[in-house]
């Protein structure tokens, strides 16, 4: 038995033979190598059977001599299917276009939803997003990944504390948490103001309460600066002491800085390559050249393409090659000292409150060891040293 699939691939024709001596005709066909199957006798002088498409010509020749009549009554198989399809090209194109369209549309952004933001913040976010290309009709695989968008948004808009970015299907969801300026605690309990560390008072500004210290006084940690108990002896009254007491305080910091250091610095030149990846195989789409850099770092962004609601196992991959170069930096003794001072100062300023100021600095000693400079610096800082201490009632 021949394989049915072969019949399908090569195409077959159903024929009807009418006339006398059909059997003789069939025998003759067989002897001439024409394959016949599914022979059925309709009546005395009619039979139907199937032959291969390639045997049609030979069969026609045979019929002429046999005195039978031949009718073609049916056709099946791939060649005919192909012909039919050619005739219905429009339909095929339509199907293809439909899938292409669905594919394209499922990879677009159709909605940008922002939740939890005030109208003006929402407007600003929308503007930023537009700048990043996140808007209706943008292709998802050309956009930054959600984490990067999140990072950029939090960096660029200072009124939001946190923004959650989520891409669900074709919709971007932004969950915004806005910064709320903490309100001054209005109703505070009765309290003293005490020193948070030892200092020499430089100036003071008391809003409420009984100051117990004067300018140029030396105070220790925990010493009461402004008392919350006011009024004369016997007629005292408890109030929440308020005010700012500035005192000179002292800090010591140590900085260790190497003279020579090597950095990897990006030069700003980069090159992109785009791929369509299926499994482990990736097909380059754009960017076929080798990166023209001798030192570079690569950055991979991989996105699954979608069809309708499903993620396909096909990925759009973007590889960014960033050129970097080694930069060697070496300081002289003076430069290193300068740099160390700068670093220490910056570090200290980061720790201090905004109303504090550094009034003096002095290098205690600087040593050179193992190619590093070690600097100890003493700072004089004027800052608010008052911190509240509640008065425990019932004493």
């Amino acid at each position: 038995m021949k394989n049915k699939w072969m019949n399908f691939l090569s195409g077959s024709v159903k024929v009807k033979v009418q006339g006398k001596g059909i059997e003789r005709f069939v025998n003759k066909c067989l002897r001439n190598g024409i394959h016949i199957w599914n022979v059925k006798k309709q009546d005395e002088h009619t039979a139907t059977f199937f032959i291969f498409l390639k045997d049609v010509r030979a069969m026609r020749v045979m019929v002429r001599k046999s005195g039978c009549k031949l009718f073609f009554i049916g056709k099946s198989g791939l060649p005919f299917l192909g012909k039919k399809m050619l005739r219905n090209t429009g339909f095929l194109i339509g199907i293809f276009l439909f899938f292409a369209l669905v594919f394209l549309l499922s990879n677009m952004v159709w909605n940008v939803r922002i939740e939890g933001a005030k109208p003006e913040t929402e407007y600003r976010i929308l503007k930023e997003l537009k700048q990043m290309g996140v808007e209706k009709g943008a292709f998802q695989f050309l956009l930054d990944p959600p984490e990067v968008i999140q990072q950029k948004l939090t960096d660029r808009i200072e009124t939001i504390t946190w923004v959650g970015v989520e891409l669900k299907g074709t919709t971007f969801y932004f969950q915004v948490v806005e910064k709320k300026k903490p309100k001054e605690p209005e109703a505070v309990g009765v309290r003293h103001l005490v020193a948070k560390k030892k200092a020499v008072i430089t100036h003071m500004f008391v809003e409420e309460g009984q100051p117990l210290v004067a300018v140029h006084d030396y105070v220790n940690k925990g010493q009461v600066l402004v008392s919350g108990i006011i009024g004369k002896e016997g007629k005292t009254k408890l109030v929440p002491a308020r005010g700012k007491i500035f005192g000179e305080t002292w800090y010591k910091s140590t900085v260790v800085l190497p003279f020579d250091s090597v950095f990897q610095v990006y030069t700003g030149k980069y090159m992109e390559k785009h791929y369509i990846a299926i499994g482990s195989f990736s097909l380059p789409v754009w960017g076929f050249k080798k990166p023209p850099f001798s030192h570079y770092k690569t950055e991979n962004q991989k996105r699954a393409l979608q069809f309708w609601r499903w993620k396909l196992p096909i990925y759009y991959e973007r590889v960014i090659y960033r050129e970097n170069e080694e930069v060697k930096r070496s300081y002289t003794w003076n430069e290193a000292l300068q740099k160390a001072k700068e670093m220490a100062r910056n570090e200290l300023e980061g720790k201090l409150e905004t109303d504090a100021s550094i009034v003096g600095e002095k290098i205690l000693h600087a040593t050179k060891e193992n190619g590093k400079v070690k600097v100890e610096i003493h700072y004089q800082v004027v800052e608010n040293i008052a911190i509240p201490q509640p008065i425990v009632q019932g004493d």
């Binding site: 059997e23 025998n27 067989l30 599914n38 022979v39 059925k40 006798k41 005395e44």
Partner: protein, 94 residues
Amino acid sequence: MMKKWRQQVRNWLTNQLELPADLVMDLPRITMIGHIHIYIENHRGLLTFSDKELRLLLKQGQLLVRGEQFVIKTILPEEILLEGKIHHVIYLDE
């Protein structure tokens, strides 16, 4: 006379050397699956065929198959596969 003698030699050969009879003696090999399929090898051509009857030429004599709803599933120069309801398989000697 000669023909008969050759036949006898062949008969003897099959018996003594245990060769398959259909090869040596050019006999048809008929395989039936229940009464729905019949597969005949070594025939010599179609004589008549209708949906109730199939007559095949053999090397010696004819084979007549009777039944209903006959369809020749495949036919090759020496093989034939018939499908239908088979009632009788008859040898006609000549």
